[in-house]
Symmetry: C2
Subunit: 342 residues, 2 copies
């Protein structure tokens, strides 16, 4: 059996209607709803076909039909085709990641949640293969030294180390020069054991300090373990009865609270190279188990220097895909603007 034009139209009508109401939709409704001028009986026949083809299902005999995952998938795919796909690129910014980035992302994710009425998440951009840009040791007081480590992309890490006896200015200067001349521009892979040994040797009596600083550098560069993820609008799930029962709500909220769990989504999104920015996971397609009754729309944003992050919107399967994707694009555009301003 083929999916002819009329079947497609009926399917679309079913999905549209279900998106609005959240209730199974019957043949009579569709008979009115569309401009096809067909009787409910005819619609019933077509619906039987659509069910056989797997695009819609009946929750129980004598109930209307609701879209299956396959049905949603078809709907989303055709919709995406119609839309223009270019996503505004986000570029160039100087930004102290640690401090301000966090605030900005929190704001973005909140606005997104308010606009869409779904739960939202955003991951801070991750830096890969970053190189050391600059190290600065300073004396904070008698027995504490502050090491400031700046990595490409202006990621800044601070590390305080304690020392036995006070170091004089000259020693500090020497250590600074030693570290910067040898290390600047190197990635963590390039800082090997031999180099560490050589540096320590040159540092003489202060090899322990050099050692500790190098550890901090390694930590700072490879530190993508703590993938920062911000969420908002978790409570929106209560707006959709099909997600609001205790079992599901509890699971979802746990997922949103244990933000690491969302990491899987970020990985999955970033991994999928050939999609141009926006991806849609319907039901079981989602990499996260607790979202098997949801739809998830993700977008990848990219800042300067290959820093990529992920935005995600999690809602019921009968999500307003159209609006969500539009909003995502707008948000990305605005993000871009905001950065440029700074």
């Amino acid at each position: 059996m083929q999916l002819d034009e009329r079947k497609k139209k009926i399917l679309q009508a079913i999905i549209r209607n279900y998106l609005e109401t959240g209730e199974p939709v019957g043949s009579r409704t569709i008979s009115r709803y569309t401009d096809l001028n067909l009787s409910s009986a005819t619609i019933r026949n077509e619906m039987a076909d659509l069910e056989e083809l797997g695009y819609i299902v009946q929750p129980h005999t004598s109930a209307g039909r609701i879209p299956s995952d396959k049905g949603y998938r078809l709907y989303v795919d055709t919709m995406l085709e119609e839309k223009d796909k270019e996503i505004e690129e986000m570029k160039g910014l100087l930004l102290e990641r640690e401090d301000k980035m966090g605030h900005l992302l929190k704001q973005v994710v909140k606005v997104l949640a308010q606009n869409t009425n779904y739960a939202t998440m955003i991951s801070a951009p991750q830096y890969h293969h970053s190189k050391l840009k600059f190290i600065q040791l300073s004396r904070v007081d008698e027995n504490q030294i502050l090491a400031v480590i700046v990595i490409e992309g202006n990621v800044i890490k601070n590390h305080i180390l304690s020392v036995e006896q006070e170091l004089d200015d000259e020693t500090m200067l020497k250590l600074n020069i030693l570290l910067n001349t040898h290390l600047n521009g190197l990635s963590v892979e390039e800082i090997n054991l031999g180099m560490v040994a050589a540096l320590k040797h040159q540092a003489g009596a202060h090899s322990d300090i050099v050692g500790e600083v190098l550890d901090a550098v390694a930590g700072a560069i490879t530190e993508d373990e703590d993938l920062e993820i911000y969420t908002s609008g978790t409570n929106n799930i209560f707006k959709y009865p099909e997600l609001a029962d205790q079992q599901k709500a509890s699971e979802l909220i746990t997922t949103f609270e244990e933000k690491q769990m969302l990491g899987a989504l970020v990985q999955e999104t970033l991994a999928d190279e050939n999609s141009n920015g926006i991806q849609v996971y319907i039901g079981d397609e989602s990499p996260i188990q607790s979202m098997k009754d949801c739809s998830v729309v993700t977008a990848t944003y990219e800042l300067d220097e290959g820093m990529k992050g992920t935005i995600g919107i999690i809602g019921p399967k009968r999500m307003d895909y159209d609006k969500v994707i539009g909003t995502l694009k707008t948000i990305m555009h605005q993000l871009d603007e905001m950065y440029k301003k700074k």
Copy 2:
């Protein structure tokens, strides 16, 4: 009417039982449950008295009794009296607040949630009247300067500023000396307009840089607007039917997500000076509206140098107060240990 010893015992038995089951408790149950050897009829009489006194209420005729807020209050107060009140003091630590503190607090709040089965929160310690300890300007590349600002208590702030043309080493050194000699040890109140003008004047051509750095300093010191709060175990509320209905759950979860809302709790807790560490808010006593059906137990922890933060546990009124307070103390002790180790 007086609250004699027997009435107290019966009240305590009612509360204990209700804490366990979450169901209204009847006279027959108490008649068995206690070692008073009284018939259910007698208990009924006593219960009638207790109700008149306002310690217990009946959800409806022909149901058992449940404790009123007043009843809980009595229970908690007497329990607190019995317990030893000293809280382990938490002291001395060197810690880069920004980086590691966050991780630690996240861990603490999580452990607490797992141990108690309630929702938990912790606020990062706030710094008041902090003084500037140290400023360091460094050149990151041609037209960017990194300002590192260290405040008492080793709070470190980074700020990147852009400059038109490159500054030579000598200028950098001069600026560093200028800033440090004039500003170190000052609190934000002491950095007044006259001083700013004088510094700018001395900086000559680079007054704009000095201006920006001073802004950053002011921002860093007074920055308690972004009171950091971490939460965990939100989903635990689903374990208590009396909190798990959609309306209440949604409100509570919103509160936990919009962490600023929890700020009221922190303020309230810190404000109450004369309680020695642990406070209990029952029902409407809570400063947060959405928690009117909950009990909230808070504790103040204090680190070196007057840095105070708040830990909070939010659960149903029939919270296991005993255990919660014990756990809170243990956690504080462990926090202490962890700091000492570093």
